[in-house]
Symmetry: C2
Subunit: 329 residues, 2 copies
């Protein structure tokens, strides 16, 4: 790594140059945009020839450091397979990020990034499982959805911890001093929900968060609470459902011929990775942002900005109020 | 019940006049609209004084039959509590619908309607659990979402049956000859999902439906498949998430000042109960349509039309391909 001076206010960011559907063709211009527009130092990890070719194509040769990694994790690779590819841009990037105490950004497959990042960084003290958090725009601000796909089958104790991780993220990224937390369910009344949610609803009042109670599907974008807590299966379905629903609704408006398509694209952009910059993986000793696989350069740049801004949060996470849970007393 | 001649082509419908947030103030004009605009004979069940007062207010005294029921199930009542109220409009309505072999419509709380309807009608032969189905509009047609909230914690065998029930509904209501069925998950590849979905994915290829494989959250409104199968927790969250997301997206378009609000309301209406008419409860020996609690008269009328059109489907449901499942060989 060259002795380049740190470019700007934010922390330097390690970027998996081979991650995502488009690889260096989008990650490289994304890194250049993060550097040029936001003064962020980006360290690109990937096949040096491919990365340098893209850098030259965008007039950025020498502007961003490159670390060579021979191998690439295919998008269809599962987590355990990805972790076995020690020479991949993802694994080399994870190791570099850990050594440099720098945030990592990858638009690789979520499962692969989560598995590799957990192995490289390890969980923060007391954390049972990591969770993905996404900040979704509402009419009045943003709502953090957690878990958006990190842990598909959590326990109630894990859900209760996700509330803490999500609140911490809302404080750091949205600047909300005392975030309210809602538990996603199928009725606002206590006692409504599936087994997992009913059990978690019993734990959350004992946690050090401002627990609002149950919220429902229509509350996610309504700004009812600052943080919506759910399991990684439901959260991932909801996140992708929102993407699809915004698209379909705007297509219907466009078909009705009542708004100019160009202006509708502005609204559509609010719900793409170009704006929200991907999901933060919470609960590890390092900072990790997972971009959407389909990320274009603007989304990559945004993910680098978010990663750079996310403070290192190494404080232990309190255990859930049961004697038997978690390694922390 | 008076000897009134059947009004139109559809089957007569029993309507819980006290159900929903607004009670007779909306159910009575809804019943009159179903009768006047669609020739459907509606039997109103509820507090006769209240119902008759509303009938007079809408110039419909004597136009629709009324059966008195003393009690009302409060919207916050849980399923078992509702079933204990034997003199309620819901329980009296269920009993009447069974005797008359007529469809039942109620905008009461979903849990209460499901519990009471299951007790009154019983499950069809071979059905493990009932499921709620909603037809959602897409750009090119409709997609059936099942289960939209009937069974929050189903087994994989139940999910596999929901696929059959949903396909049967798509044939009956959408007129699709050979509906394709997708399993809602968090990745299109086989093997992606939570434990329940991974198990169900192993059962579905053996079922007598055209199984497409996994679909994701963004596929629900994209028209990828005719039927999207999921558990009642995820399905209910998705359904309400869509309602909220359409509203927020249109509000954002309105705020941007790029489309006339009146025309946007046309798009919004596609995703309200006014248009889709509520959810059908599948798997019982009778026909039951559960309206949204907030239903206004137009939604009630639409629910009556859907209930009247839904054919009685008493055929046994095939068991899932495992020796140990279900009462049917």
């Amino acid at each position: 790594m060259g002795g380049r001076a740190q470019g700007g206010a934010g922390r330097p960011v390690v970027l998996d140059a081979m991650g995502g559907d488009h690889g260096p063709a989008e990650t490289v211009p994304g890194a250049l945009a993060a550097h040029r527009d936001h003064g962020i130092e980006v360290l690109l990890v990937g096949r040096a020839d491919d990365v340098r070719r893209e850098l030259r194509r965008h007039g950025g040769a020498g502007e961003v450091d490159v670390l060579h990694a021979d191998d690439v994790v295919p998008m269809a690779e599962r987590g355990s397979g990805a972790a076995a590819r020690r020479d991949s841009s993802l694994m080399v990037g994870c190791a570099l990020a850990r050594r440099r105490r720098a945030p990592l950004v990858s638009a690789g497959s979520t499962g692969a990034v989560v598995t590799c990042a957990v192995r490289a960084f390890g969980r923060r003290e007391g954390v049972l499982r990591p969770a993905l958090a996404v900040a979704l725009p509402t009419l009045t601000g943003s709502t953090v959805l957690v878990d958006a796909g990190g842990t598909a089958d959590p326990t109630a104790e894990m859900l209760a911890q996700f509330a803490l991780l999500g609140a911490s993220y809302a404080r750091a990224v949205l600047g909300v001093a005392d975030p309210s937390v809602g538990l996603l369910s199928i009725g606002a009344e206590p006692g409504k929900g599936n087994r997992l949610v009913r059990e978690a609803a019993g734990l959350l009042p004992g946690m050090p968060v401002r627990f609002h109670g149950n919220v429902e599907g229509h509350d996610v974008l309504a700004g009812t609470v600052d943080v919506v807590v759910t399991d990684g299966f439901t959260g991932n379905v909801v996140l992708k459902n929102i993407e699809g629903c915004v698209r379909t609704t705007l297509d219907m408006v466009a078909e009705a011929g009542i708004a100019p398509p160009g202006r509708l694209a502005e609204v559509a952009r609010l719900y793409t990775a170009d704006t929200h910059g991907g999901a933060a993986l919470l609960g590890l000793t390092g900072t990790v942002v997972v971009g959407h696989g389909s990320s274009r350069s603007a989304a990559i740049a945004r993910a680098c900005v978010v990663a750079s801004e996310l403070g290192a949060d190494d404080e232990p996470v309190p255990a859930v109020g049961r004697a038997s849970v978690g390694p922390v007393a």
